[in-house]
């Protein structure tokens, strides 16, 4: 069986890196890579050939591979070239775009969307959303630190004391948590906010403080699930977040709701009250952003506040992002490939969720 890797058009990443090939071989899967696929993420072709993969043209890869892996969705031309019955693995986001599934149905292929793998403990080793979000969170802080014209840590020096930077993290999901950790490492004073009940403990488990709104309805009895909060409480909450935002120097916004538009957490008014030189990195940009001024894939300045909108910062740490993505894919295959055969086991929760299209 042959697995084909394509050169990405929009990404710096590559779907499978040379070091991962070892594990594929164990599954009796061969690797065929489009020429130059790994260039942008520092995996030149020779590294692939060294481990025994073959370099090929894009057409060759598409037409001869039993499994085709690509990070970004392929266009129709490419899909059309794929072998009948082949497996196509990508991040297709059928949740965000309902035309995806009907579009795929036209082709006689199996399509696995890695972002559909359930977020369970068992499936975590294949969870690309987690691995990419984690890198995005890390990179978001580095980008912010780079855009920021001050230093993060507190420093008492002969030329005066540099106060520590105040960082506010909105949304303590995987990306937000990693952002907390990274900002803390750099010496910032970190606060975070999330609406999930468990988030409070998770934030504190990283040593950051949680934006506490006094008067919350106790959810102890609810077994960890969020309980409905009063309208008054929600108003207070919004006000407090605005207050914290105005006082902070850096905001990493990573609040998202699966399949919906991201909540607006930083209003125009807030931004106009923030100190010039502040930096906002909005990881929710692709779903509209948490900040009113956010433009996706752009870096703008408003009232001296720099706002970077980018939901795919993982692509900027392309080398490690490629490695992790490749591992996720291989971990997935390890569960379903036995002796060069793919077992489309629909009784398996993971396959059931991830396989969004089959040959008719």
């Amino acid at each position: 069986m042959i697995l084909g890797v394509l050169k990405e058009n929009h990404f710096q990443r590559v779907a499978i890196v040379p070091s991962t090939f070892k594990k594929l071989k164990a599954l009796q899967v061969d690797l065929q890579v489009e020429s130059g696929a790994g260039d942008a993420s520092s995996y030149p072709d020779n590294q692939y050939t060294e481990v025994g993969a073959t370099i090929a043209t894009r057409d060759k890869v598409l037409t001869t591979s039993d499994i085709v892996v690509s990070l970004a969705p392929l266009n129709d031309t490419d899909l059309g070239k794929m072998k009948s019955g082949a497996l196509y693995i990508s991040m297709l986001a059928p949740f965000q775009d309902e035309t995806v599934v009907p579009g795929l149905a036209k082709y006689p292929i199996h399509a696995v969307s890695m972002d559909m793998i359930p977020r369970t403990t068992l499936a975590q080793s294949m969870d690309v959303l987690s691995s990419m979000a984690s890198l995005s969170g890390y990179k978001a802080v580095l980008r912010a630190a780079d855009l920021y014209q001050n230093m993060f840590p507190m420093m008492t020096t002969a030329a005066g004391t540099i106060p520590p930077t105040k960082v506010l993290i909105l949304g303590a999901g995987v990306a937000g948590l990693q952002a907390i950790a990274t900002a803390k490492r750099l010496g910032a004073v970190v606060e975070a906010f999330d609406t999930r009940a468990a988030a409070r403990e998770e934030v504190k488990s990283l040593g950051a403080s949680f934006v506490e709104v006094p008067g919350a309805v106790d959810d102890k009895g609810a077994g960890g699930y969020a309980v409905e909060q009063s309208a008054e409480y929600l108003t207070k909450q919004r006000a407090l977040v605005q207050e914290k935002a105005i006082k902070s120097n850096i905001i990493i916004a990573a609040a998202q709701v699966r399949g919906r538009k991201a909540p607006i957490l930083i209003t125009e008014e807030t931004i106009n009250q923030m100190r010039p030189g502040s930096v906002i990195v909005d990881l929710a940009a692709s779903t509209g952003g948490n900040c009113a001024y956010t433009e996706n894939n752009a870096c703008i300045t408003q009232n001296g506040v720099t706002i970077l909108g980018n939901s795919d910062l993982a692509d900027q740490v392309s080398s490690i992002a490629s490695t992790l993505f490749g591992n996720n894919v291989v971990n997935f295959l390890q569960m379903f490939v036995k002796e060069g055969q793919i077992n489309y086991d629909m009784g398996n929760e993971i396959m059931k969720s991830a396989l969004i299209s089959k040959p008719a």
């Binding site: 369970t120 403990t121 068992l122 975590q124 080793s125 987690s130 691995s131 984690s134 995987v174 948590l177 990693q178 950790a181 803390k184 490492r185 403990e201 998770e202 504190k204 488990s205 990283l206 040593g207 569960m335």
Partner: protein, 468 residues
């Protein structure tokens, strides 16, 4: 002359008991302490045999019988003590304690008979009489109680609550006091002696009978200090300092020890004395499969780890919640300083975000070299003495390997069960993120150390430092 040497021997004996007991209180010196006490004892025994002279300067007779008895006791005692299983040690201690109590009782019997033969009236010799009768009562209670404790621990006797047990016990105690009073001041004389013996024996049996197996060590310790007092009474009787000091020492130290043991189990001694314990066994509770988990005391955890060759720490989300990374690092350091090989086993999904444990431990300045990936460390558990699971749960859940119905079946986990001991620190028996029960906690090798990780580790480190 010879009595001077005898006295010196006794002095050495007494001192050896004190020093021996002192040394027995520290892990490093305990074994030597036991040896010293044994040497002192041997000296005292042989000095008695060869040097003892009564007031009129007459030495001892019946050497044959004496040596015969010594020989039989030594051979039987050594064999019994050597053969016994490690797990059966407590009942063995109980048995030997009973022997001591019986010995004290017999001495009282002989001396009582002696008084009677000489035609002495108890009321004229109040001191001696009290000592003899008290020696009998305490010795017999100790003997009878110890036998019951032995039987229970050995599984020959079952726990049973005696109806109105407490009232009966109090009545028996009163009876003992009354009989003693009547014998000495009431002129009741000889006749009641064997009744006293019988009543004491019954009290000893009833005292121990209702007590649950888990509390048995406390009872044995208490009976132990009783026997000490009985031995001391013998010292009074024969004006013999080594018996007096040895007996009193054990009586007092034994009492302290009993209190300490009670404290370690969170009970009061009063509970023990009025014989009302038993009932619900703490420190052991039922698990999902009907199994039960056991708790470990801090000090035991400390000794276990301090005397290990290799310890692996498994950090989990709980460690992060407790923010116990710094004190965890300190534990690592203190163990390392004491020659223990310490590593951290990092499970890929431990915590709540990728790399959570790395972030945590890096903050506490734990060297990267000590962190081991799951694949690398799993084979190492087999030659690990203690695994300390700190606030981890799902990542050490054996269901992932053994239970195909489990939602995490198939996930690779840390094979902590391959190690000799597993100590799990968490606050309760609640499940982790995945919300599933963890059978590990109920396995025989596992002991639970409940409490917030920071608190528990702080105490553990203090304990280890106090020992090291």
């Amino acid at each position: 002359m010879s009595n001077g040497f005898l006295t010196i021997s006794y002095l050495i004996g007494s001192s050896s008991f004190i020093i021996g007991l002192r040394m027995l209180s520290h892990p490093e010196t305990a074994r030597k302490g036991n040896l010293y006490a044994a040497i002192g004892m041997t000296l005292a025994i042989f000095a008695t045999i060869f040097l003892y002279k009564d007031a009129s300067g007459v030495g001892l007779n019946n050497y044959l019988w004496i040596f015969g008895g010594l020989l039989v006791g030594t051979v039987v005692g050594t064999i019994a003590a050597k053969r016994v299983q490690m797990t059966a040690m407590p009942q063995m201690v109980s048995l030997f304690n009973g022997m001591g109590g019986a010995c004290a009782g017999i001495i009282s019997v002989v001396e009582f008979n002696h008084m009677m033969h000489q035609g002495l009236v108890l009321g004229d010799h109040v001191g001696q009489s009290i000592i003899i009768l008290l020696g009998l009562v305490i010795g017999v209670i100790s003997f009878a109680g110890s036998m019951v404790a032995f039987g229970k621990l050995n599984g020959n006797i079952n726990d049973r609550t005696i109806p109105m047990g407490q009232i009966i016990n109090v009545a028996l105690l009163i009876a003992i006091v009354v009989i003693v009073y009547m014998m000495i001041w009431g002129g009741a004389g000889e006749s009641l002696f064997y009744i006293l013996l019988a009543v004491s024996a019954i009290y000893g049996v009833l005292f121990v009978m209702p007590i649950g197996g888990a509390d048995m060590p406390v009872v044995i310790s208490l009976l132990n200090s009783f026997t000490g007092v009985a031995a001391a009474l013998g010292g009074f009787l024969y004006d013999n300092n080594v018996m007096l000091t040895g007996g009193i020492l054990v009586g007092s130290a034994g009492t302290v020890l009993t209190v300490l043991m009670c404290k370690a189990m969170n009970r009061s001694l009063l509970n023990v004395v009025i014989g009302s314990f038993g009932g619900a066994k703490e420190g052991s509770a039922a698990g999902p499969g009907g199994g039960s988990y056991k708790e470990i005391a801090l000090t035991d955890a400390a000794v276990l780890m301090l005397y290990s060759k290799k310890v692996i720490i498994v950090p989990g989300y709980g460690l992060a919640v407790a923010q116990a990374q710094h004190i965890c690092h300190e534990l690592e350091k203190v163990l390392d300083e004491n020659g223990v090989d310490v590593k951290y086993a990092i499970h890929p999904v431990a915590g709540r975000m990728p790399g959570h444990m790395n972030v945590l431990l890096a903050e506490a300045d734990v060297s990267y070299d000590r962190l081991a990936d799951m694949e690398d460390i799993n084979p190492e558990f087999a030659h690990t003495d203690v695994v300390l699971v700190l606030g981890a749960n799902d990542v050490v859940n054996p269901a992932a390997k053994t239970d195909p119905a489990s939602p995490i079946y198939g996930m690779p986990i840390l094979d902590v069960e391959d190690a000799k001991h597993v100590i799990v620190n968490k606050r309760s028996m609640k499940p982790g993120y995945a919300g599933i029960e963890n059978d590990l906690f109920y396995r025989p090798k596992t002991s639970m150390l409940f409490g917030d990780a920071k608190d528990a580790l702080t105490k553990l480190v203090a304990e280890i430092k106090s020992m090291a």
